[in-house]
């Protein structure tokens, strides 16, 4: 890839993760400038496509988290106007962002993911799906984690300890998406593995095209262990990288992450969240984030740093994914 590209950095938008996205975008812009690129920062709004058409940059760096940025919407638009962009394509975004679909794909491929069921709002309203709840509760058992099928914010993710808490938790999750995921709760350690496409120069024949970065462990403050919203809240968790794990556990987590990355068809970069179950020492894959945070304190830059990849190098490698298809 040549020096001095003109790069539009897409950030912000109307997602619940808008403010983090603005910070990710700002960090990426600074790094791109230091790398000698010309930056066009865009806080995404209804003028996005006209602006991109008028400016005609060489590539778009997608730094939008959550709705529009991670669900394939923006990627589909960028394909339609023929603009190269960073990260995964529309199909991978859709597979990863829809947690229910991603879990079905993982099950089919033999990737361990916690037992789950999903229910849609229309199934409840029009197909009498609530009559299936008792069977579902017996199958998955309490405590249960209830999540909106799409969306990456902590909001709407709830912990139901009893049958009585389930309807409220589900109505909460339905506020964010028309489908909710009910998932067996895995007690244990919270891990994240970022996967990065290999440098084109280094990628020899027969080698995997993506590398897993060192594992990060998120350690919630004790008192909030079962409060999912707090666990995902900024400042409520401390992070350890590389995570202190047995070497074979680290290797297995990284192997699973790369498998999921390839299974979903990710490109450029993604972060895979896993649980290391306390009782069984088993690893379980929870979900994949196709536009991981790029703020100075986000997990991906931390993991890259632990692997000896400076922030500029990280940004350069993600940018390279725009030109590598």
């Amino acid at each position: 890839m040549s020096e001095g590209q003109r790069v539009a950095v897409l950030k912000g938008g109307r997602s619940l993760e808008r403010s983090v996205s603005l910070r990710s975008g700002a960090q990426v812009q600074d790094a791109l400038q230091r790398l000698g690129h010309e930056v066009l920062p865009i806080d995404v709004d209804p003028e996005l496509v006209p602006r991109l058409l008028a400016a005609a940059p060489d590539a778009a760096f997608v730094a939008m988290h959550g709705r529009d940025g991670e669900d394939g919407t923006v990627q589909g638009l960028l394909e339609a106007i023929g603009l190269p962009y960073t990260g995964s394509g529309p199909a991978a975004c859709m597979r990863a962002t829809d947690k229910v679909l991603a879990k079905h794909l993982m099950l089919e491929a033999g990737v361990p993911t916690p037992a789950f069921r999903s229910l849609s709002e229309t199934a409840i309203k029009e197909l009498g799906a609530s009559a299936a709840l008792p069977a579902l509760e017996r199958e998955l058992d309490f405590p249960l984690v209830v999540k909106p099928a799409k969306g990456g914010s902590a909001l709407g993710v709830k912990f139901a300890r009893t049958s009585a808490e389930l309807p409220g938790a589900m109505v909460g999750a339905f506020s964010y998406d028309a489908t909710v995921l009910l998932e067996r709760y895995v007690a244990g350690r919270d891990l994240a593995v970022s996967v990065l496409d290999r440098d084109l120069a280094q990628a020899g024949a027969g080698k995997p095209r993506a590398d897993a970065l060192p594992v990060v462990e998120a350690v919630p403050r004790e008192e909030d262990f079962y409060d999912y919203e707090s666990r995902y809240e900024i400042g409520m968790t401390t992070f350890v990288c590389p995570a202190e794990l047995a070497p074979e556990t680290t290797a297995r987590a990284q192997e699973l992450a790369v498998r999921v990355y390839q299974l979903l068809g990710c490109r450029g970069v993604a972060r895979i969240d896993l649980m290391l179950e306390r009782d069984s020492d088993e690893l379980w894959v929870l979900e994949t984030n196709v536009v991981p945070g790029m703020t100075e304190t986000s997990l991906l830059p931390q993991a890259a740093d632990a692997a000896g990849i400076a922030f500029e190098q990280l940004v350069e490698r993600v940018l390279a994914s725009a030109f590598s298809r």
């Binding site: 990710s24 902590a154 709407g156 589900m170 109505v171 506020s175 998120a218 400042g235 986000s298 931390q302």
Partner: protein, 487 residues
């Protein structure tokens, strides 16, 4: 999804790395751990857009202030004293402004000694300075539940341990306060001050009864406790008789026309004039006042002389210039807000259904509504924002633990037009019916009539003391914490 190790700002540094982050982390004060962002507050930031009807703000309506009066008063300040207005002022405030404060306090039926006043940068600065002066990490503040959402980050930043007392239709129940004080005493913890908003409480909308005011002052005197009386809206009473301030009741208890020696009074020009002036004040016992003054020197030296002189000009000549004196303007606001309150109360009756209850405030800016306990208003806000374009403050913002009050919401009726109030409440009602209907389907219980799209009849106000008040969550914070540990 983004997960991040700390809130941080928009840090634009040359080479940010995790190592550097660790370097900064080690530099941050312990108190910054209490300064936390939250997904809920981030979502609320998203509602500040022109296409959203926001019932979330704490806003008065500044569009009612005549522009030509503002221009004229500013011209007077410029003509008479440009140099003084542009210079630093005394930390305690300008004498001419303090005279206005004495006048406002007199209108609240409270006589004060002008030498016991400090002019502050908004009422918010009083809360900050009082904490700065009184609170060491772990010190106890007793507050109401719910409490002013804007005090929550301040209390957190000073690492206060806040005990919240659930309020009812008559404000803070003093017997509950006393049992909390007894418990704290048994634990060897002495509260530094009691924080209360006696008039048209923010966010609860209720007013502390006269009997409770008297008893609160007695309790404070018996136990030698300071009270921070936050009274931004006292003059915005739309019905009923004004009640004496805690400050004046304590001063009467001290006797012989003296000043209160246990109440720190917080006032502000934000709601009776304009928040953009950033002018408030404290009246405090002299030893406390001296510390507040030192604290303010460190914070901002003095509040803006430009706006202090504007206030003085307004109080002295506003009436002469425009025929609208400060009291007339407050009367205008009362008429306006009373109508808006009534519009909101009617709209709530039409659109919120039988499962909901709300306060009927006699003044102030806010109504507090409480829904079916299984509805989380943070989630409801997410739905209402997305599908209806309307916003409110989720009840959790008024609780230190960020979890209690989850089925309540604060609604502002003062800063929005009657049309927007009707439309805003109608939209929230629609989102609410959606959730209640879903709950009905999930639990197999029949969906109430209010879950249809048709507006429901306005329910009769039930008789009894709770008729105008919400059922507040009955969880006390220690039981809550206990339960979390037990999970």
């Amino acid at each position: 999804m983004e997960r991040s190790t700390s809130g941080g700002g928009d840090g634009r540094r040359a080479r940010p790395t995790a190592h550097e982050l660790a370097r900064y982390e080690s530099l941050f004060a312990a108190r910054t751990r209490g300064m936390k962002s939250s997904a809920m507050r981030e979502m609320m930031a998203l509602t500040e857009r022109p296409d959203v009807i926001s019932l979330a703000g704490g806003l008065p309506d500044t569009s009612t202030f005549p522009p030509e009066l503002y221009a004229g008063l500013m011209a007077d300040v410029a003509g008479d004293s440009t140099a003084r207005a542009l210079q630093y002022g005394p930390t305690e405030g300008m004498a001419a402004t303090v005279e206005c404060i004495v006048e406002v306090m007199a209108a609240e039926g409270t006589a004060i000694d002008p030498s016991e006043v400090i002019v502050t940068t908004g009422g918010q600065q009083v809360i900050d300075l009082v904490c700065k002066t009184l609170i060491d990490p772990g010190d106890v503040i007793v507050a109401e539940a719910p409490t002013y959402p804007g005090a929550v980050p301040t209390f957190s930043a000073y690492q206060a341990a806040v005990e919240q007392i659930e309020i009812d239709a008559d404000g803070m129940p003093i017997d509950a306060l006393e049992s909390t004080l007894d418990r704290l005493q048994a634990e060897g913890r002495r509260p530094k001050f009691i924080y209360t908003i006696p008039n048209f409480q923010n966010p609860g909308g209720v007013t502390m009864s006269l009997a409770r005011r008297r008893r609160l002052v007695e309790v404070a005197r018996e136990r030698e406790l300071l009270v921070l009386e936050d009274n931004p809206y006292g003059l915005l009473r739309y019905e009923g008789e004004p009640l004496p301030t805690l400050y004046s009741l304590d001063a009467a208890a001290v006797g012989r026309g003296g000043a209160s020696d246990l109440v720190i009074y917080l006032g502000t020009f934000s709601k009776i004039l304009a928040p953009g002036l950033r002018l408030g004040w404290a009246v405090a016992p002299r030893p406390v006042l001296e510390k507040l003054n030192l604290g303010k020197q460190g914070a901002d030296l003095c509040s803006s002389p430009v706006t202090q002189m504007f206030v003085a000009a307004y109080f002295n000549s506003g009436g002469a210039r425009s025929g609208v004196g400060w009291r007339d303007y407050v009367e205008t606001l009362r008429d306006l807000y009373r109508r808006r309150r009534d519009v909101m109360l009617q709209a709530l009756g039409e659109h919120f259904g039988e499962g909901a209850r709300w306060t009927k405030p006699q003044g102030g800016l806010f109504i507090w509504a409480t829904l079916d306990e299984r509805i989380d208003t943070t989630d409801l806000l997410a739905l209402a924002r997305k599908s209806e374009g309307v916003a409110f403050v989720p009840g959790r913002a008024a609780y230190m633990d960020g979890r209690s009050g989850s089925s309540s919401m604060r609604l502002n009726f003062a800063g929005v037009s009657e049309h927007d109030i009707r439309e805003g409440i109608r939209r929230i009602g629609r989102a609410l019916r959606e959730q209640v209907g879903l709950l009905g389907s999930l639990t197999g219980s029949p969906v109430p009539a209010s879950a249809s799209d048709a507006p429901v009849e306005q329910p009769e106000q039930a008789p009894g003391p709770l008729a105008d008040v919400v059922a507040l969550p009955r969880r006390d914070s220690s039981a809550q914490a206990q339960r979390r540990r037990d999970r």
